[in-house]
């Protein structure tokens, strides 16, 4: 749940934002109607989605994919690896899904998760 909205006596006047760097508090995730779903089997950790996401809602720090059995695969977290979605900020635009070279992300309607 987002924090309770503040009353008119509690906020700065004139619509000003007087505290810098607070855009993380804006929950763009509230806008989402489609949710990205990641398929770790298909993911090659190219991090194109991480670069493209307009809301920095793709996290880094996932493990290599041990189940794949590829050489050098490890279950240690690495900043070079896809690490999931930040659903508080993912607005569901679908850019990641559209640009993933291996089609490892699909968009599903939010109502499927109710």
């Amino acid at each position: 749940m987002p924090e309770k909205p503040k009353g008119w006596k509690e906020i700065p006047i004139g619509g000003k934002i007087i505290e810098p760097g607070n855009s993380t508090k804006y929950r763009t995730g509230d806008w989402r109607t489609f949710r990205p779903i990641h398929d770790k089997e298909k993911c090659i950790n190219c991090m194109i989605c991480w670069m493209l996401c307009p809301d920095s809602a793709i996290k880094a720090g996932g493990p290599d994919c041990p189940e794949k059995g590829a050489k050098g695969a490890s279950d240690k977290p690495s900043t070079c690896n896809f690490g999931g979605f930040d659903l508080e900020h993912c607005k569901g635009c679908g850019l990641c899904a559209a640009n993933c070279p291996t089609k490892a992300i699909t968009m599903k309607q939010e109502k499927e998760f109710d």
Binding site: P5, K6, G7, W8, I11, P12, I13, G14, G15, K16, I17, I18, P20
Partner: protein, 394 residues
């Protein structure tokens, strides 16, 4: 010790003189009749080095107010002036200036809005933006325009207010006519206006702020509520500034100023130069023993409804004069506001409305005599049409 001098000045020169004394950091303006002589005089002060102001000449009034918004947000004491269609072109940004809580001071030299195109006085321009969130002061003559401009800076910048202020005077009738006015010395004026300490200045890089972000259904209403509240605080601030400035000039200022109002049975309410004309007729009729008086709004926004009731409740009949029409409305903007102030009152005068003076149509003494005459019948209960027109040809 304050030094007062009497000088022969036009209303426009009075505003420019106040601006010279204020010595604002930034002025951004675009010429438009009948405001032009204010900026004409002020730009001369800039050229002669009599002020330190950064004078920005722009390509339109929309840009003028936009530059004012930018400069005020940056933390500069900012002023401008305009009239009629210039104000109309500014409108979008006029609203933004108030919503962003920027204490800009603007002289508005009242002129009829086009069309058909007309350069003469009426109040359609400033009445058109009565709901923009600006404080509105009205000036009977050049001296009041001067005083209101000096006081406007203090009112706008009051930390509990932080709203822009519009100082209105009548186009040509006041702006271009020379009258004897009493001005105070530079030192006293500057001492009164004081130094500006901006809140959340954009140029303060140690304390970065964002101006003008998106504000949807989740917070917009709260910001409007703050503006409504600031207008309430403005009532106290205006009173304080009036009293303090009054100590310098020896005059008494009020939201609504009465003239021979105490025991008046028939009263005319009108703003700006018409109030001066009405005083002549009040004197004339008083000499014949008629109990007539005048109430002149000096402050229209915020509207101090309780004072209207206080000052008018003993009258038998009142004519509210509007120099602006509200097409399709029930009477003009003043009428609506003054009349509804009495809604809950048991003791109240009969109140009628006259729309007059549109596009600079003269309001002469005979018209005012006729209005006082018509108020006799209204006082005795025969209200008839409560929205009337004075000075239009049938």
């Amino acid at each position: 010790m304050v030094q007062k001098t009497k000088q022969a000045r036009t209303g426009a020169e009075c505003s420019a003189e106040a601006m010279r004394q204020i010595n604002p950091d930034v002025v951004a303006a675009y010429p438009i009749t009948p405001q032009t002589p204010i900026m004409h005089a002020f730009s001369q002060y800039v050229a002669d080095g009599k002020v330190d102001t950064e004078f920005i000449t722009v390509e339109s009034e929309h840009s003028a107010m936009s530059a004012c918004v930018g400069s005020s947000a940056a933390g500069a004491r900012t002023m401008t002036a305009t009239s009629a269609n210039g104000l109309a072109l500014m409108w979008e940004v006029v609203y933004i200036a108030a919503s962003t809580r920027l204490p800009i001071v603007m002289n508005v030299v009242n002129r009829a809005l086009s069309g058909p195109i007309n350069i003469h006085c009426d109040h359609s321009d400033s009445m058109g933006c009565r709901d923009t969130g600006w404080i509105q002061l009205y000036s009977e003559n050049g001296e009041e325009a001067y005083e209101n401009t000096l006081m406007a800076v203090r009112i706008a910048e009051d930390p509990n207010v932080l709203l822009p202020v519009m100082v209105c005077q009548d186009g040509f009738i006041t702006s271009h006519s020379v009258e004897t006015v009493e001005l105070i010395d530079d030192e006293s004026a500057r001492g009164f206006v004081g130094e500006y300490h901006p809140k959340d200045a954009l140029l303060d890089t140690d304390k970065p702020v964002t101006y003008g972000p998106l504000d949807l259904f989740d917070y917009y209403f709260e910001h409007k509520m703050q503006q409504i509240d600031a207008m309430e605080h403005a009532k106290d601030a205006i009173r304080k500034v009036f009293d303090e400035f009054g100590q310098l000039t020896g005059k008494k200022y009020d939201f609504f100023e009465g003239y021979l109002l105490e025991d008046a049975e028939r009263v005319i309410v009108c703003a700006n130069s018409s109030a001066g004309t009405t005083k002549v007729v009040v004197d004339e009729l008083r000499a014949k023993g008629e109990k007539v008086g005048l109430l002149k709004p000096r402050v229209f926004r915020p509207f101090l409804a309780e004072q209207v009731v206080e000052k008018l409740k003993h009258a038998k009949s009142v004519a509210i004069l509007d120099r602006a029409a509200s097409f399709g409305g029930h009477g003009g903007p003043f009428f609506n506001e003054f009349r509804s102030a009495f809604h809950e009152e048991k003791e109240k005068p009969a109140i009628i409305n006259y729309i007059y003076g549109l596009g600079g149509r003269e309001l002469d003494l005979a018209q005012l005599r006729a209005i006082f005459e018509e108020l006799k019948a209204v006082a005795s209960g025969d209200v008839g049409h409560n929205v009337r027109y004075s000075g239009v040809r049938e």
